[in-house]
């Protein structure tokens, strides 16, 4: 791998930018691998990278049916935070956040991690109580979170409207200063480049059509659009299509796939210095480095695989944005799109072994998987390499739904659903 630095940039600038080469190899699948990851999004690429980098399993392939980072990795609103209520969740998301903090250095690729702060607004007395409960729970778990009065929130985010005469006035907010955003494509590309350099094969346009098991029922091979590939250790990281892929091995999961929409405005000069979220009136907004306002809407009501959704869902979010940020009322929206998110009943993910020996799954991230990308990849790699979960993902099993040990972030309302 050619190391990137200020010096290489300068050299290429004088050389007419003719020396840049592809960031990863374009290869045909080998007949056999030690590990296969199904799904070439951020999570899958990260898992492949950590399998090679931390566990020495370099005979690894990532199988992607489209192109890498073309699913939810390229469709999300890039918010990173770890202010979840329950101990298990706080440990999981803060593990990811700590990996984000030096990811650019580790990968030698600028993922543009920007800890600009995530401000979650409270609009009612109940909201205020819930937010303060979260702040105390987070601090008890070593996760930073602090309460801001409306005036302090406005000082932190000047375009915010804190007038008391709106339908849902801002009564304050919880600020996680370590939270922020990153560049989604760079995360996929950075992991792909670093994994490739360690020998991982990244195989695009290679849809998995079958999971082949031996006489004992264990994983033996993967049938793909580009032929049969033998492998006894397979990790599925396929987001909204996880039920479809695991259905090939007759594994049923507590998942439902919903469209989640987002939209961006025309680019403008820097106006929103942080990420602002409101769970109560359902809006979240940040500003990309290109200047576009990046706005997340909610999920549509029904399960679907269409990667689109209804306009009324966006319009509901925009009415909330217009109330919180009256200055944006005349902004024009440039693009909107949908991604398919896999949602569990308790809104917490699954990173676990399945009942099939050699088959592992990372799924159920619902509407908030991007923030966990380095952490989930790291933990899936650990689980696959050692055939047992890391202590951080040990609670995030499939069996918790049978045993009643839910990690109920849904009821905790720590996340915007």
């Amino acid at each position: 791998m050619r190391k990137f630095s200020g010096w290489t940039l300068l050299k290429e600038a004088f050389g007419g930018q003719q020396g840049w080469t592809p960031q990863w190899r374009r290869v045909a699948p080998q007949p056999e691998y030690d590990a296969i990851i199904i799904g070439g999004g951020g999570h899958g690429l990260a898992a492949a990278y950590y399998l090679a980098a931390e566990h020495g399993i370099t005979r690894t392939a990532v199988l992607e049916k489209g192109w890498i980072g073309g699913g939810n990795t390229g469709r999300n609103t890039t918010i990173i935070r770890s202010n979840y209520l329950f101990d298990e969740s706080a440990a999981l998301y803060d593990h990811a956040l700590k990996l984000w903090e030096n990811l650019s250095q580790v990968l030698n690729y600028n993922v543009m991690f920007s800890p600009r702060g995530v401000l979650m607004l409270a609009h009612t007395v109940h909201d205020v109580q819930v937010a303060k409960r979260h702040i105390h729970a987070n601090r008890g778990n070593g996760v930073d979170n602090e309460w801001l009065s409306p005036e302090e929130a406005k000082a932190y985010c000047p375009p915010l409207n804190i007038e008391r005469n709106i339908r849902y006035p801002v009564l304050g907010g919880a600020l996680q200063r370590r939270g922020g955003t990153a560049r989604h494509d760079a995360v996929a590309w950075g992991y792909a480049r670093a994994a490739d350099a360690l020998g991982v094969d990244i195989i695009e346009n290679c849809e998995v059509t079958g999971l082949v098991r031996d006489a004992s029922g264990a994983m033996e091979a993967v049938q793909t659009a580009r032929g049969l590939i033998r492998c006894r250790r397979v990790g599925v990281s396929a987001a909204g299509n996880t039920s479809v892929v695991l259905g090939l091995a007759d594994v049923r999961l507590p998942l439902e796939s919903f469209p989640l929409q987002a939209l961006v405005s025309e680019p403008v000069k820097p106006a929103v210095p942080c990420v602002v979220m409101s769970n109560s009136i359902h809006a979240y907004i940040s500003q990309s480095d290109k200047g576009e306002l990046v706005i997340g809407a909610g999920t549509d009501a029904y399960t679907s695989y269409t990667q689109r959704g209804a306009l009324h869902v966006n319009s509901h979010t925009l009415s909330a944005i217009c109330e919180l940020f009256p200055a944006f009322r005349r902004m024009r929206m440039l693009r909107n799109w949908g991604g398919i998110v896999d949602v569990t009943p308790d809104r917490s993910p699954i990173i676990a072994k399945t009942q099939v020996a050699g088959l592992y799954v990372n799924c159920g991230w619902g509407t908030g998987g991007f923030k966990a990308t380095p952490g989930s990849g790291h933990l899936l790699a650990w689980t696959m390499a050692r055939d047992e979960p890391h202590p951080i993902n040990a609670p995030f099993t499939i069996e918790r739904f049978r045993d009643g040990h839910l990690i109920d972030e849904a009821a905790a309302a720590a996340v915007a659903h």
């Binding site: 039920s243 049923r252 999961l253 507590p254 439902e256 029904y302 399960t303 009324h312 739904f401 009643g404």
Partner: protein, 97 residues
């Protein structure tokens, strides 16, 4: 926005309806003899079909009644709607050529 045929009221916009999940999921008849695996199956495990999906809807801002529908989750096209209690129509019968 989808247009949905309520079997009681006719064609109405999606905003009048609430989605209510996979259809024909029967509650275990005898709770005291139902195993944890069977409870998990009933409460949490879903087909999450990529293709034609039988699902419940409720015309919550109309007649307020539940009904069932067959919808293709790859296109969001409704193939049929039918009243609660009626058997699921054969998929071949409702598919357009």
């Amino acid at each position: 926005m989808l247009l949905i045929q309520c079997p009681y009221c006719g064609l109405r916009p999606e905003l009048e309806f609430a989605y209510a999940g996979q259809a024909h999921v029967a509650r275990p008849a005898d709770p005291s003899t139902t195993s944890p695996e069977q409870w998990a199956e009933f409460l949490y495990l879903r087909n999450n079909t990529r293709g034609i999906h039988a699902e419940r809807w409720r015309h919550v801002r109309g007649c307020a009644r539940f009904f069932n529908a067959l919808r293709d989750t790859t296109t969001d096209h409704f193939l049929a709607t039918y009243r609660a209690g009626e058997p699921m129509p054969a998929i071949q019968a409702v598919q357009q050529p």
